[in-house]
């Protein structure tokens, strides 16, 4: 009979790891970067070409069409969107403050993406266009690089958007 008692106790001990548990409360400051998007006055486009507005952060620069596609859907991805694909920043504001949660790493190209149409099947990647990007403080014509660490949030990543004069498109 001893075995009858010992075996279940052994099995119980083996399995007594606990497993999954709710994560501890998140730190008050999310990692990633934050800033403000400033929209050029009077430049907002008609509502029928404003499906979604998102911030993107790419670990790769320069980009082309195929790099954008694979960057978004590769495993792990190299291009991240905020908010999630299918959601949008608010429209027709003068400015919008944001906080983009990201894992640590170097993000070489950060900007704002306008989704022009919901018909992705027909237009593919061309339903998106870049309407503004975070500029290098020293060489403003070039994208600025942001290094996200795992201890604090990088602040002051401000982006100017002018829908009427978008920058050169990477795809």
């Amino acid at each position: 009979m001893k075995q009858l008692i010992i075996i279940p106790i052994c099995l119980t001990l083996i399995a007594c790891d606990g497993g999954l548990a709710p994560p501890p409360p998140k730190p008050p400051v999310e990692l990633g970067f934050s800033g403000t998007i400033y929209y050029a006055p009077g430049s907002w486009p008609p509502v029928d070409s404003l499906v979604n507005l998102m911030i993107f952060a790419s670990q790769i620069y320069p980009l082309d069409s195929s790099l954008v596609s694979t960057g978004l859907f590769s495993d792990p991805p190299t291009i991240f969107l905020y908010p999630q694909i299918g959601q949008s920043l608010s429209f027709f504001e003068d400015s919008t403050s944001y906080s983009f949660p990201l894992k640590s790493g170097t993000y070489k190209y950060i900007g704002v993406l306008q989704q022009l149409s919901s018909d992705m099947l027909t237009y593919g990647i061309r339903v998106f266009r870049v309407v503004g990007f975070y500029r290098d403080p020293l060489i403003p014509s070039q994208p600025g690089s942001v290094v996200v660490n795992d201890t604090s949030q990088i602040e002051g990543i401000n982006i100017n958007v002018d829908f009427q004069n978008p920058p050169a498109q990477p795809f």
């Binding site: 009979m1 075995q3 009858l4 075996i7 279940p8 099995l11 119980t12 083996i14 399995a15 007594c16 790891d17 606990g18 497993g19 999954l20 548990a21 709710p22 994560p23 499906v51 979604n52 195929s66 596609s69 694979t70 978004l72 859907f73 495993d75 792990p76 991805p77 999630q84 694909i85 299918g86 919901s118 018909d119 992705m120 099947l121 593919g124 990647i125 339903v127």
Partner: protein
């Protein structure tokens, strides 16, 4: 011509009348040789006829209408050494009594299986790995769905609703099972998504389950890529029999406040009642079942009604016909994944008000005729209908209906006692009607042939081949898909038993899976952005090649060992994913993979059968050769232990299962769905325990059981974003008279 028809009919009638008149019967009681207790569920078969029975709760059996002649009569029960009465002579109107005592020995007992070669044979004659589950085990575990039970089978793990045999399947988002499930030898896969409808399988009417590991398309066709699971339902007993099982389970409240969402205790309750009897040549079994699971998660509740019946008719002692119907109605909350790990018992907000209603059922017909001791044949047909619709707040979203019809005619010819041919033809016709998959007909046909030859007592060779042709059309017989319609699958096997205690086996087999209608034709907007799922009618069938060598060794009367080394090469695996060139989601053939591993199993029987243990370890090395990474959704290690103990009227079983942490998952699924905290996963390490007090052995036809599932209340997720059930206490009551 009229005369010819009349004469033939008259001769047939006379033949049946004479044959029915000239019969005898046998009856008796079967008991345990050691304890003298009555044994339930012993299969009694009159070899060379269609006559047979099983013992009732008091161990009694009765077989009427045995033809005159001399026969061998076998008595078998899983866990006991089979016994055979040789050369029993049946005389007209004789009624003979044979009381049999069977010796319990799970180690030495030679199990009989039917799935590996489409005919009855000893497990020792089979060149592939086969595991069996008895109905007693199902009752011990209080399993209410078949997939609950498969979690205890060596080398098998479940990924939510998808079954993996030695890592064959992974998780393909609910479509396209890579393991074929059969009910009494007939395929049971839905016509639209090609998945296994677990909840409709009549688990209370199962006699045993056989799990054949490795590709099995040579005998069974599409979907047998990683293995075949055959559910053998109970036969109608010769004596009137009523069976009842009632159970009620209570989910433990979560240990964490964040997960505790209900003020009330949550229960999972149900049961069934069945009655069977024979009146002359006619036998019947009817059963009704009901289950209500309140669930430990929000909007995961389900209600289920089931009706099952089996009718049989003995035209003569050599001809039988069985007609089975099985229908299930279910209403189920539409829980897909958790809201987050912090709220692991709540679904994502979009799934809070969704539910799925389904009505599924099948009818099957099986005719069997034994023409001589050397030759018999069977004709089986199944019609399987499957309808579901999902609703959100009462608004219907998607619907699908599929109808699958299959006919299978098989003949077995023993040229000599050492040489057996098995062959057959199959045909199927399928229709799918759905707003997301479209309306598509499908048609297929195939034939198979297998030759088994035993040139000497210790050596058995098997070779077989099957040709299949399958087509799916856009419209009825217009615009067929580009999918290759033809498949040729060979197999070979060898079993060598150099001593009475050693069996060596080696086998090679091939498998394939024809893409399901949902993989070919799904066209729908997804919840994430405007990315559409679009059809791909150029999908190729998935293919596999399985190799296995194994040795089975009886080390002593109480100790056996089985070791298998296996390799499964997989070609053109179909996966759903984002096509970056078209910015759409599609099912495509993307993966070439290789799964190698070993499986070690041992059975130890101690203290004169009072304590028996069953241990198995499976190591799996699943490599995605296309990406040169580990295959997604496959564990590397499986370890299962089962300890069963008997003490007077008390029977207890403790099961432990360990499935190592899944190393690679589909990150895109986590990100795009999105499944918040979806990458949080741990190994599965679960203990289940059951105690039953078997009053049947003292003449009271009741068994009272207490089962505790997940005894240690270990929290884990079999599938990403899906918290598995916490500790659950079940009380059960089973009656059989």
């Amino acid at each position: 011509m009229k005369n010819f028809v009349f004469n033939t009919a008259l001769i047939c009638l006379l033949y049946f009348a004479v044959a029915q008149a000239q019969t005898g019967s046998i009856s008796g009681t079967i008991t345990d040789a050691k304890t003298n207790e009555a044994l339930t569920g012993v299969n009694v078969i009159v070899k060379g006829t269609t006559r047979g029975s099983t013992t009732n709760a008091l161990g009694n059996y009765l077989i009427k209408k045995i033809p005159i002649g001399t026969f061998d009569i076998t008595f078998s029960l899983i866990g006991y050494i089979s016994d055979t009465l040789h050369h029993v002579t049946i005389r007209p109107d004789s009624a003979q009594t044979f009381h049999i005592q069977l010796i319990q020995n799970p180690i030495k007992a030679e199990q009989v299986v039917v799935t590996a070669s489409r005919r009855e044979q000893s497990l020792r004659e089979v060149p592939v790995s086969v595991s069996t589950i008895s109905s007693n085990k199902i009752a011990d575990h209080v399993s209410v769905r078949l997939d609950d039970e498969l979690r205890y089978v060596p080398g098998v793990n479940m990924m939510s609703d998808q079954v993996n045999i030695r890592g064959s399947s992974g998780y393909s988002r609910g479509v396209g099972s890579r393991v074929l499930i059969l009910i009494d030898g007939l395929p049971y896969i839905t016509g639209d998504t090609g998945e296994i409808p677990w909840e409709t399988i009549p688990i209370f009417q199962i006699d045993r389950i056989e799990v054949v590991k490795g590709a099995g398309s040579t005998l069974y066709g599409s979907s047998a890529l990683g293995g075949v699971i055959n559910i053998i339902t109970k036969e109608i007993s010769e004596l009137p029999e009523t069976r009842v099982r009632l159970f009620s389970g209570l989910y433990t409240k979560p240990s964490y406040k964040q997960w505790d969402w209900s003020e009330n205790n949550r229960f999972n309750s149900g049961g069934f009642i069945s009655y069977s009897n024979r009146v002359g040549s006619f036998g019947y079994l009817v059963s009704i079942s009901r289950m209500v699971d309140e669930s430990y998660r929000v909007n995961d509740v389900y209600h289920r009604w089931g009706i099952y019946s089996k009718l049989s008719y003995q035209f003569s002692e050599y001809q039988s016909l069985a007609f089975t119907t099985n229908f299930q109605w279910r209403k189920h909350g539409n829980y897909f994944w958790w809201k987050s790990l912090s709220e692991a018992t709540r679904p994502a907000d979009s799934q809070l008000s969704g539910e799925v209603n389904s009505a599924r059922g099948n009818m099957s017909l099986a005719y069997k005729e034994i023409l001589s001791n050397q030759f018999f044949y069977s004709i089986k047909a199944i019609y399987f209908s499957n309808f579901w619709q999902d609703n959100t707040s009462g608004q219907v979203n998607n619907t699908a209906a599929s109808h699958v019809t299959q006919i299978d005619a098989q003949a077995t010819y023993s040229i000599t006692p050492k040489h057996t041919l098995t062959g057959g033809v199959v045909a199927n016709y399928d229709r799918v009607f759905s707003d997301i998959f479209g309306n598509h007909p499908g048609f297929g046909a195939g034939f198979y042939l297998q030759d088994e030859f035993a040139p000497m007592q210790s050596l058995r060779l098997t070779a077989g081949i099957r040709y299949d042709w399958q087509r799916v059309w856009r419209e009825l017989f217009k615009s067929p898909t580009a999918t290759s319609p033809s498949q040729l699958n060979p197999k070979v096997g060898i079993v060598f038993s150099p001593t009475a205690t050693t069996t060596l086996r080696a086998s090679y087999g091939e498998g394939y899976r024809y893409p399901s209608v949902s993989e070919l034709f799904t066209s729908i907007s997804t919840s994430f952005s405007q990315i559409r799922i679009v059809e791909n009618d150029s999908l190729k069938p998935e293919r596999s090649k399985s190799y296995e060598i194994g040795v089975s060794q009886l080390l002593s009367e109480n100790f056996s060992l089985d070791l298998a080394l296996f390799q499964n090469d997989l070609y053109d695996l179909i996966e759903g994913g984002v096509n970056p060139n078209r910015f759409v989601i599609q099912f495509t053939n993307v993966t070439r993979a290789r799964i190698r591993g070993l499986e070690l199993g041992t059975k130890i029987d101690l203290f004169n059968h009072s304590l028996s243990t069953d241990l198995s370890y499976t190591y799996i090395d699943p490599i995605d050769l296309t990406q040169n990474t580990i295959l997604k959704f496959r564990p590397r290690h499986l370890f299962y232990a089962s300890v069963a103990a008997e003490y007077k009227l008390l029977h207890s079983v403790i099961d432990y299962r360990y499935v190592s942490r899944i190393e690679a998952i589909d990150e895109n699924l986590v990100r795009l769905a999105p499944i918040v905290d979806g990458d949080n996963r741990v190994a599965c390490s679960v203990v289940d325990m059951s105690l039953s007090y078997n009053l049947i052995r003292i003449g009271v036809p009741l068994t009272v059981g207490l089962t505790i599932k997940n005894l240690t209340n270990y929290y884990y997720a079999e599938l990403i974003g899906n918290l598995a059930p916490p500790r659950t206490y079940y009380l059960s009551l089973e009656g059989n008279w």
